[in-house]
């Protein structure tokens, strides 16, 4: 119980440390308010993006040098052959990296190919880089978190599974906490939505996606600032798996309801078929956007309010912002679990539709 209480202030403290260093820097230089607002905005946008090194925080030293605290991650590129190098070569995006005669530069958290060591990214009128982009399979900050969550989940649940065999079919330790959640997913999400007959086939996916999204969302709330689920690539991947499972487990009844809706007149059947077909794609698309948008919005709002603390720079405004940020952080904790729940429930619902057997007319 004591440990739980003391964790929250520490988390908040760490969250603030990131910004305190900026506040100091800004305070001494006495920048105008607009610059600070622009800085906060830029910081938030930077935070929402992936990065090639694992930055914990950065600051500007007294000599005016930009310092980054963190460690580099491996960059893996496919550009006429596999190229693997450390992200430290980019010097946090400030320099051009030279690998095997090719030159790469980071621009808006993406790697572009440049012609020489002193070349710059060429932008068009919409501020889009026109340089060539190599195929990028780097272990970015987000990928490293996915690997971390992979490890945590495997460790947690394989240990839980072992405790059952060691303890005569009863969970032990962490398993006691996790078992009700696993059973909740089984009894409240999978069983009612998919049905008693088929739910067992989908349990592995539903449980994994539930815990994965939940844990990843929780990591997004820690001050190390990794937001896996606010990348459209991640949510697209998850939604795509749901879509593929739904499509491939669809039975005769499911396809009949899509292409030749029973119980409606023939002209309606013809009108309904493309709508229903589109619906099968819209459903997972909505899943993808819902998770992405909820987490991104949460992060933007939370960070904006934290940023307001430094914009106000007076006792009343800053403390009110702090209070608001605190309340919002708690709300985000709820959202983290809620989005995992919604994603799992809707996936289960779609699987349920695909395997539904009884011939009901709607």
């Amino acid at each position: 119980m004591r440990r739980k209480i003391s964790l929250k202030p520490i988390t908040l403290l760490l969250l603030l440390i990131t910004f305190v260093s900026y506040a100091k820097e800004e305070g001494t230089q006495g920048e105008p308010k607009n610059d600070r607002a622009a800085f906060v905005k830029e910081y938030i946008q930077h935070h929402l993006k992936d990065s090639y090194d694992f930055g914990l925080y950065s600051y500007t030293s007294d000599e005016g040098e930009h310092k980054h605290i963190g460690f580099p991650l491996p960059v893996i590129l496919w550009d006429n052959g596999l190229k693997v190098f450390s992200s430290s070569k980019f010097h946090h995006g400030e320099e051009v990296a030279e690998v095997g005669g090719n030159y790469y530069k980071v621009h808006h958290s993406k790697i572009y190919k440049v012609d020489g060591p002193n070349e710059q990214i060429i932008e068009d009128e919409h501020h889009h880089a026109t340089n060539e982009k190599p195929l990028d399979f780097s272990i970015t900050k987000n990928v490293s978190l996915i690997i971390l969550v992979f490890g945590i989940m495997f460790f947690m649940f394989s240990r839980m599974a072992k405790s059952y065999t060691k303890n005569n079919g009863m969970p032990k330790g962490m398993g006691r906490f996790l078992e009700p959640i696993v059973l909740y997913v089984r009894d409240e999400i999978a069983r009612p939505n998919i049905g008693e007959k088929h739910y067992k086939r989908y349990m592995s996916y539903l449980l994994t996606v539930f815990f994965f999204v939940w844990i990843v969302n929780l990591f997004g709330l820690t001050p190390i600032g990794m937001n896996v689920t606010n990348n459209i690539a991640v949510t697209l991947c998850l939604a795509l798996i749901t879509y593929l499972i739904t499509t491939f487990s669809g039975n005769k009844n499911y396809w009949k309801h899509i292409f030749w809706m029973p119980g409606v007149p023939v002209p309606m059947k013809i009108i309904l078929a493309p709508i229903e077909l589109l619906g099968t794609i819209i459903k997972p698309f909505a899943l993808m956007i819902r998770l992405y948008a909820n987490i991104t919005a949460g992060h933007v709002v939370l960070m904006s309010i934290v940023g307001m603390i430094f914009l106000f720079q007076n006792w009343i405004g800053s403390s009110l912002s702090f209070l608001l940020a605190f309340v919002l952080a708690i709300l985000e904790l709820l959202v983290a679990a809620l989005q995992a729940y919604i994603f799992t429930v809707l996936s289960a619902l779609y699987f349920g539709m695909a395997v539904e057997e009884h011939d009901d007319h709607h």
């Binding site: 649940f157 994994t208 690539a233």
Partner: protein
Amino acid sequence: MGKLFEDFSLGLFFWQAVLFLALVFLLRKFAWKPILDSVNDREEGIKNALDSAEKAKLEMQNLQADNEKLLKEARAEREAMLKDAREMKNKMIEDAKAEASESASKLVAQAQASIESEKKAAIAELKSQVANLSVEIAEKVVRTELSNKDKQLQLVETMLAEKSLK
């Protein structure tokens, strides 16, 4: 929408797909299957235990009912046996009584009969003895009496006197 496409990172998609699918399959083998199986086993076990407890309860009730029935039967049997025994006892007593009285009366009758016959025999013997004695006495008397002439005459006279007196 344009921003979404711009933000899309193929590398991240690739790693997410690979790692997530690997996680699903690894966890299915090492976690979800054993966990769900043991939970299932446990639930089955609890269900079976409850069922068998219910069954045992029913059996117990049946057994109790049987016991009650047996007890009742046994009681009835005992009652019947007691009644029989009592009846038999009474009958035996009565029979014995009847027999006893019968044999007693028979004995009495026999005794009476033998007494009668004994009496008759005794009387008959007595009569014959008395007759013999009388004859002997009479002989002796006659012999002595008739040895003396006077006495004979006296006797005749006495006897005659007696006859006349009568």
